[in-house]
Amino acid sequence: MVTAALSEADLRQRAWDVASRVVDPEIPVLTIADLGVLRDVTLRDGQVEVAITPTYSGCPAMNMIALEIELALEREGFRKPKIRTVLSPAWTTDWMSEDGRRKLREYGIAPPPIGASSRRALFGVQAVACPQCGSEQTELLSEFGSTSCKALWRCKSCREPFDYFKCH
């Protein structure tokens, strides 16, 4: 429960902690903080406002994520939290945390390369390491995968197909 004894800064931090634990419904090993989708948490007259940014324009997980944040905050005693969607600056895979990249790999999804969110990186992927066996002998099967943010690849060493989180 939220108590009056907590300072404004403590409350904001608590709200951030609660929001940051919400996971992506389509990649449940990643929190929205890992993804860089959670942009800001502010407190105004006791009301929490959470700013999130979409990965892709049409990402259907955004509605679900907004609802999950609202519910999580309500459960912790924050009344009527507001969720705001911000478009600028545009989300990039560079915002994904190092921890997030490790968790993705362990989950079986090849993470995007770091510091390469340019058009050239989006198109010029040289080698994607297989998240199962680590081999770089891999090939693209389909530029579009199971969700907007992924492409479908296959490992030529262990023969396993896998998702690759597109650099964006």
């Binding site: 990402c59 545009a90 479908l152």
Partner: protein
């Protein structure tokens, strides 16, 4: 009783945002018609993914148009409660899917433009349009690569795929000129650096299109006669049929949610 259409206060900025939103919604809807019918599973996913990106772009633009208009309309009302004549999309976007070559040729012409357009719009003095552009730009670039590869593969493929790809390009060519049309409504926004002048993009667009078409061993039509009308609400018969499907739920059960 069926839901009635809304009225819109068409200031230049509202109209500008609606026109681009309509392009994305209508083209996205067309692509979604392939869902479950594409020639391969990978392509089913690709077309659905592109449709989803376009739907997302449309939502951002409709929401912005609603905010600028300030009359209580919202993205759903714009999509579900406007008649054919109130839609301002490019005629290209509403053209029938036809065969796979035709769908990809339509996508190629549009994406080659959208890629340049959104990249240029990132410099817009309007911060919301610039933000939408920054998201759409990367998506459009990816879409362009997908359709370019298919044009090359179909054109430089079998006799049959070549014939179909050429027929698609010939049939759709007359709808490409509309992308570069500028009317009085948009001239003011261009002068204010809120909108980009599409005439500035035409040479680059033609270079991209010519390059891919040549690599595909196909040819662009010689004719430069272009069909206009979509931006002013004059559409082909196809749009009404599309809207009757897209809007049927909200028209029949006004305000229905689930």
């Amino acid at each position: 009783m069926a839901a009635a259409s809304i009225n819109i206060s068409e200031t230049p900025l509202v109209l500008y945002a609606l026109r681009r939103a309509d392009d994305a919604l209508i083209l996205g809807h067309r692509l979604s018609e392939w869902c479950g019918h594409a020639p391969a599973l990978e392509e089913d996913m690709a077309l659905a993914n592109i449709a989803l990106d376009l739907l997302g772009q449309a939502r951002s633009l409709y929401s912005y148009a609603a905010e600028v208009e300030g009359k209580g309309n919202d993205e759903d009302k714009f999509a579900y409660l406007r008649d054919v004549r109130q839609y301002r999309n490019l005629l290209l976007a509403e053209q029938l899917n036809g065969d796979f070559a035709r769908t990809l040729a339509r996508q190629f012409f549009y994406s080659a433009f959208a890629d340049l357009y959104w990249r240029a719009m990132m410099q817009s003095r309007n911060p919301t349009l610039a933000a939408i552009a920054a998201k759409s730009e990367k998506e459009s670039a990816y879409h362009l690569r997908h359709s370019s590869e298919w044009i090359i593969r179909l054109g430089d493929g079998t006799d049959e795929s070549h014939r179909r790809a050429q027929a698609a390009i010939d049939d759709l060519w007359a709808f490409t000129g509309e992308m570069f049309e500028v009317d009085e409504v948009e001239r003011g926004l261009i002068d204010a650096a809120i909108a980009v002048d599409p005439a500035m993009l035409k040479a680059k667009w033609l270079k991209t299109v010519t390059g891919v078409v040549a690599e595909a061993t196909l040819a662009l039509p010689k004719s430069d006669w272009m069909q206009l009308g979509g931006r002013h609400g004059r559409h082909s018969e196809h749009l009404g049929h599309l809207l009757s499907e897209l809007q049927s739920m909200q028209r029949t059960f006004p305000g229905a949610t689930w």
